[in-house]
Symmetry: none
């Protein structure tokens, strides 16, 4: 029984490399490759039915997380393995939350990739060893819910943060203690798995649709 794949990555060289690596493998068949989410959707509409899609997370037009979320409802039978450079931990959590079945770093080797494909093909999950720890920690801390599950106050403070307000400024504006603001700010950090305000602002802009 062969596992049928579609590969998705905006870096063509990487895509071709991956194709070259995998196409020699027994039990694996590359149906097609796509450079972006739109190409991927076209392939599926053309009737391709892969078992697994291996997708980069960070892509310009439609990123892996968006795609994964969409697939969860539109193509629930197709599993997704996420590929990443890993320079941002929170990506891991978001991707898994979005419904990815596997998570691999680009620092991994062919062997690990094939293992991941086989695991996921069997309906199991595969997490790059590096991430197991991160995810474990996340779960045990009961920080399972992310993103949209900020409380009203937290969201308000995040909005002010995005506008460049300091804790003290917010405290004055909201007639609260600066300690309170700090508590909220740090709770937001924890919930989102982000450890500085700049990353927080960018996350808010990208995912929470908080702008100005």
């Amino acid at each position: 029984m062969t596992t049928q794949l579609i590969l998705l990555d905006d870096h063509v060289l990487f895509l071709e490399g991956l194709n070259s690596i995998l196409s020699g493998e027994i039990g694996i068949e590359i149906l097609a490759t796509a450079k972006n989410g739109l190409e991927l959707l076209q392939l599926l509409e053309q009737g391709h039915k892969p078992d697994i899609i291996i997708s980069d997370i960070r892509m310009p037009i439609m990123d892996g997380i968006v795609i994964t979320k969409m697939f969860k409802t539109k193509y629930p039978s197709i599993s997704i393995i996420a590929l990443t450079m890993l320079d941002q931990e929170s990506d891991v959590i978001e991707m898994l939350d979005a419904g990815a079945k596997g998570y691999i770093v680009k620092n991994a080797d062919k062997k690990e990739l094939i293992e991941a494909i086989n695991m996921v093909a069997q309906g199991k999950y595969y997490l790059s060893p590096r991430f197991a720890a991160i995810y474990e920690e996340w779960v045990t801390k009961k920080q399972v819910s992310i993103g949209t599950q900020l409380t009203r106050r937290e969201r308000q403070i995040l909005e002010l943060l995005v506008r460049g307000k300091s804790s003290l400024q917010m405290a004055k504006q909201l007639h609260l203690s600066r300690f309170t603001i700090d508590t909220h700010r740090k709770n937001i950090h924890k919930k989102l798995g982000i450890r500085n305000n700049i990353a927080l602002v960018r996350h808010a802009q990208k995912w929470l649709d908080i702008r100005e």
Copy 2:
């Protein structure tokens, strides 16, 4: 006459993919691959004499720019082709200054890569067509920058800041003192009349078209 290569990239999957793509080509021989600068140096000390090294720019231990600069004096007969994600414009400029003979984006395809190898093997230069566009854009931005007279270093640091890097992280990445980074950052503040990093990031996104 075959062109002998060593490949250098910290992302093993990419490295293996590249190897897989190129090793089938006539006229090209892969002598070895290396995951970081140290491995590369060891290979050379062991007597490998490649014509060309294809190297990623961004790497943790010793980045492509450092390597290229070093090779210019220590192994002047070896040409270097730089590979990049091109998520940071200023890398292009730096790499060019450092003395790379070729410049390819990872969005390129196999055909372009091989063309680049052949060009460089013949002693010519090869620049990815995208590079031309980026370079053009970069130059015009530099000239048109009336409201935003940031120097090239300042712009580079602002780009990193937008990506959420701290002063210390930038210092490591750019091989500079953290004091230097701070000086630049504070000079940017003054020039733009902005008093904190978050406002700076938003200004950069809005007015300077610096994103990710």
